[in-house]
């Protein structure tokens, strides 16, 4: 019982740390591409840690399957959306530069 709780605490604290890292990256980095990199990487890891901790806490097989499914979907959608946003921004900047020239 004790060991399980210690694991949960460690996992949740690690998740919070990665969330803080992602947010700080979002605030402090100079341009969109580095922000994108910081946020999408760190936040997914943070969410993964928190999901693992909560799955351990709830300890029901159905909920664990659901939480795992949530995490996989988040990885998929976050990776795709970071790529899409980056490409969108590059096209915007290109067309803006093209208009100026």
């Amino acid at each position: 019982m004790m060991i399980k709780e210690i694991f949960i605490v460690i996992l949740l604290v690690a998740g919070c740390f990665f969330f803080l890292a992602g947010t700080l990256g979002l605030l402090r980095f100079p341009d969109l591409f580095s922000r994108l990199h910081a946020l999408t990487n760190a936040d997914n890891l943070g969410l993964g840690f928190i999901a693992a901790g909560i799955a351990l806490y709830i300890a029901s097989p159905w909920a664990t399957v659901k939480i795992f499914f949530i995490w996989i979907l988040t990885l998929l959608s976050s990776a795709t959306s970071s790529y899409l946003i980056a490409r969108f921004q590059r096209e915007q900047e290109k067309s803006k530069n093209g208009e100026e020239e």
Binding site: D43, Y57, S77
Partner: protein
């Protein structure tokens, strides 16, 4: 005999056995899982509050969209911790709803704003 002075000066903690006793006392009587969950939830909420700064400043529309990604992920984390805290498994359905719909905004921006010419108002 141990007094408060020994605890404060730290000399007690040299003894490993005593250290374990103190740690287990703290864990058993001061620490509780619910309080820890509340601290995590508040931390994540403050994270969202920090993200608002980028939303306000963000020079381009893509920056702003990025903050909504942060809100989505942090919101999902908060909901999961709440599911543990309230012991309510139906909250996981709310998480999945956020999850499957978070990408639709990005795809909408990318596809609909393709032919955009002006700056964001």
């Amino acid at each position: 005999m141990l007094t408060l002075k020994h605890f404060l000066s730290g000399s007690v903690y040299d003894n490993i056995a005593l250290r374990l006793v103190v740690a287990s006392f703290l864990v058993k009587n001061v620490f509780s899982m619910d309080a820890f969950f509340i601290i995590v939830i508040i931390f994540l909420l403050l994270n969202i509050g920090l993200g608002l700064i980028r939303l306000w400043r963000g020079p381009s529309i893509a920056d702003r969209l990025l903050t909504t990604q942060l809100f989505g992920t942090a919101g999902m984390a908060i909901l999961m911790v709440m599911a543990g805290y309230l012991n309510d498994l139906t909250l996981l359905n709310v998480v999945i709803t956020f999850n499957v719909l978070s990408i639709i905004l990005v795809i909408c921006l990318v596809q609909v704003w393709k032919k955009k010419k002006g700056e964001a108002p």
